[in-house]
Symmetry: D2
């Protein structure tokens, strides 16, 4: 942590900060520059309360040196984590094989779900996505089938061996979702629902954590840290687009986060090009781009009849479209020494 003082700050202010630093069990290094005095702290600054130092009169700014997360950091674990997803097809994220998770936005009908599950498996998916509890912007919109939807997902796993990935929206739903699903998805709107993060951190199943619409990378890593700090290290990060001024797409999909996460963390990161763009016609190209830049997986909305989908049909591609997309994805994966 580096403390920068205002020009001409009184020596007593500096002494006060030094006292604070020592109180917190760190050591200080005072540097009197030509224009400013700067104090560097030595020790584990994560123990320090930055705001307390920021409040000292005469302090201009405080700049952290260390990242505030630990368990999610690559500094504590150099090797990339391979996170298992369940099912009987060996689904996992983080290894050489790129995970393909596909399925409808929400579960709407047993027959259709089973049909799409078989179709995405045939196209190459190892996991099935589908919402039984749906976070909807409007209270008047379809909110999901609930437990009935979970049962249908479990039946699809039985028939296909696909791992089941589904969203959990609140703590009360955790036991219910655990009964049926293999992977708990925490949605973008709940990325900083800390009580929910703790709850999924206290159970054993893998957590697929979606980035919040305006979450910084540091906040995203700290959300993973919330889960991991309760004992569950099986976290898969998922980029699903951020909110910007852009209007030709529902969200802006910032793919540079993929190599950046690989640089700072051992956790796998997958991409959701369906939510990340909001338009089916942009999905195939963004799938290709994601694989090309090193994504550990894709989660794709796929619906056999997008026009009649009750939620997010606009961003769904058909199983047929997925199958033909796989042709180029396999070549691109090979180009970056991966399989899909």
């Amino acid at each position: 942590m580096i403390v920068v003082f205002e020009q001409g700050a009184d020596k007593s202010r500096v002494d006060h900060v030094v006292t604070l630093i020592r109180e917190m069990g760190l050591r200080e290094h005072v540097i009197v520059g030509t224009e400013r005095t700067v104090v560097a702290c030595i020790g584990d600054e994560r123990k320090m309360d930055i705001e307390r130092v920021e409040n000292v009169p005469g302090v201009e700014k405080v700049m952290p040196v260390l990242a505030p997360y630990k368990m999610a950091s690559r500094e504590v674990k150099k090797d990339r984590s391979v996170v298992p997803m369940g099912g009987t097809l060996g689904a996992s994220a983080g290894g050489k094989k790129i995970a393909l998770i596909a399925g409808p936005c929400s579960v709407e009908d047993r027959v259709k779900l089973l049909e799409v599950a078989h179709a995405v498996k045939e196209a190459g998916a190892t996991a099935l996505r589908g919402g039984a509890f749906k976070p909807r912007t409007s209270p008047y919109a379809f909110q999901g089938m609930g437990e009935k939807g979970l049962e249908i997902l479990a039946e699809a796993r039985e028939q296909t061996g696909l791992a089941v990935v589904t969203e959990v929206m609140s703590i009360e739903q955790v036991p219910l979702v655990a009964k049926y699903a293999d992977v708990f998805q925490v949605g973008a709107r709940n990325m900083q629902n800390y009580n929910l993060l703790w709850a999924v951190g206290e159970q054993k199943k893998t957590v697929l954590l979606k980035r919040g619409l305006s979450a910084t990378l540091e906040e995203f890593m700290l959300a993973a840290e919330y889960v991991m700090s309760r004992g569950n290290s099986n976290v898969i990060l998922c980029e699903r687009g951020i909110r910007t001024f852009e209007s030709y797409c529902r969200n802006t999909l910032p793919l540079a986060i993929v190599p950046e996460v690989h640089r700072i963390s051992h956790l796998p990161i997958i991409v959701d090009p369906s939510q990340g763009t909001g338009h089916a016609h942009l999905v195939p190209d963004m799938c290709r781009a994601s694989v090309a830049c090193g994504a550990d997986g894709l989660i794709i909305e796929c619906h056999s009849d997008p026009e009649h989908a009750l939620t997010d049909g606009a961003q769904s591609i058909t199983p047929q479209g997925l199958k033909s997309l796989m042709v180029s994805l396999r070549k691109i994966a090979a180009a970056v020494d991966r399989d899909i």
Copy 2:
């Protein structure tokens, strides 16, 4: 709802959309323009599934005409709502009197909390803020005193008559918080935690709903609608800053939302200049600006010893600072025909 077709879209596409519109119980109006065909829907488009229409091949875009919220809209209630806050000092938001809610970011110590409560009351506040459950970006940071903090807040109300405003972070906390608090605060990170919104909508106390960091105004209104749709109309909206590229402040405080909410809704809107800027030195001027543009209240972090505050000291002003701020706030309130 207006459906715009692609240039040269086939008539069969248009007919298909017309069928969909009729299926949903609306009537259509087909307009064949020089470059495009456009179909206007007549009836309550809130019943329609926009995405289903967006998915029809040949549809370029679909533009909603009506706002998707109803109970929060000014169209259903022309008069501004005056929302009571509790306590014995007549605290409320939305009337001629501007609500002043002040207190520490989090409850940290009984003696200090009681001291600051008396001080803010003396300065003119009618409600006391203070967190017992604190949403923190890092799992390693101080998370609040929990029930012990709530007890202290209730004791402060007993002594001062101030209404108690405090955050609820999850459904399980609702009964506990209800036992002690007057107003449930739903924080920015939980603005789209829909299960929580329903839970606070099903109880009777007033809800102070903070805008999410990247929530659009429509999403903000729909979050209020979630609460109201469960029977609780006592909602106070709170602008607390949005996330942008700006870096001299923690958040960007967009005050134009105040007159805009007054135009489209009957609900009161207050401003949080402490969270909204992140720096104590910007708070007084932003309080003045908020009152000048018509805010129905202010919620201000106030701490007798900001330097030692465990959370958010950087954005706290002292009770003394608050008192001197009130001098100009009273004059500005008078200039816009309000009291504070």
Copy 3:
């Protein structure tokens, strides 16, 4: 400047950075922490090439300590600058009196311009705004009257004594605009048109510099520094809204910049609530908020017949509206110890 090394960075990397620092005429201070090595530079870091240091393998990040601007900084001039604007009414920005600049978006008609000029003067304005050269998003839109418009503005000054503020869009226009105008406005889209900044820095008239739509505060100050570094210190900063995800307004108006500029700079800052919101119905409240938070002036689009305005009528208020707005502005100005 603080150089932070990666965990476990080789000593040879640190030595290399030390050599670079000395080559640039600064001194270094090496701090070996428990997790990282950090090097602090002593001397005027503005001379240093940060990117060169960032490129050294093993360097994690480089954090500047000093602001990169000087002439615009409050550190070189503690007193606030009062910048004259011309005309015969004593127009200026930065003193106790708040500058009121009003007029149409663009000059469209001699008779109407003269009429509105008299009206805004009567309402209390000391300067007249009006575009003769208009930057338009579309090449097919009305681009302004050019020199003819400038002549009309000058005639209005003759009749009223109002200072004339008008936009200059390119270097070639500088002599022409100088012939008629009192204040050169550099628009938001040209805030980083450095050749234009130099050109207006080399002449003597006051420059009203609008913030770019996505310019950081530092970039804004550096744009002022471009002008000042060529000899012209008469710069008025103008906040006119930034681009964010918000859609109920054309731009998001971040008023906290007003007190922040006063903290870091001696230059005056005014606010443009017309461009800053894009809607006439939001303008009066944002004028009030601007004055309340300390703005040194307002620049307002005012049109006697907004509905027929060729540009930006949507954000124009009428002279009558301006006059009634002044009643509350005067009271608010008095509350913050200013006049208008």
Copy 4:
């Protein structure tokens, strides 16, 4: 254009809008809905002044139906344009072959420039980038070598056959740059410097137009339209990252714009992953992603000694790095039926 009226808007307001529509040579279609009245305009709405209609009291909002650009639109030209770039290697953008433009951020030294030119040619580039006039945020930073730099670039073309791509910052520089360069680059900060756009539209050489940091896609297309409307159709669009709240990268690179531009326009679009991320370690993966999603070219900063580069070394890769990057780029290009 669709005009939506406020609830309960007076019939006289509707009649007035109808009059305006007819005055502008269009026809109207009035639809009286259950909650609102809506008027659709028939004819070329680009002739209409939207703001004039927005200003009519009682109008809630006006929604355009048609895109405001024409020459850049795919509706006027279905086939993709192949834009020549000059040099003797057949450089062009928009065809099956992906353009590779590489070179240093700025020209700094004759020997080094010639060296890097030969190296990038060998790696597969057909065009050389390098700035002789550099837009710099600070007036105190290196501003480029000017004409001397242009001479060196021309010498490099002579030796290698590479097309020369270089930035033009102001109208005065146009003849000078035209003397030496093959392609005029208009930088992100000048994307809405309309006078400059006209000037490059009036000469014959190809224009590489970079997207502004906060330009919408529509504004970007309209900037291209500015150039094309003056007779120069040889425009190459370039995505170089936008400004968002993200801080791990200098800019956020939104690749979904590539397929979207291909959908709406016939112009080629290339990507600048160097500016688009700001960090050399993110460049290779973003190059791979760009090619995978269909980019018509890449413009990459490449420097033989990035650590000593006077500008933007942090985002430069070495010629050696470029060469090894090409191995995977060729495979990815083949996967999407392109060459590089």
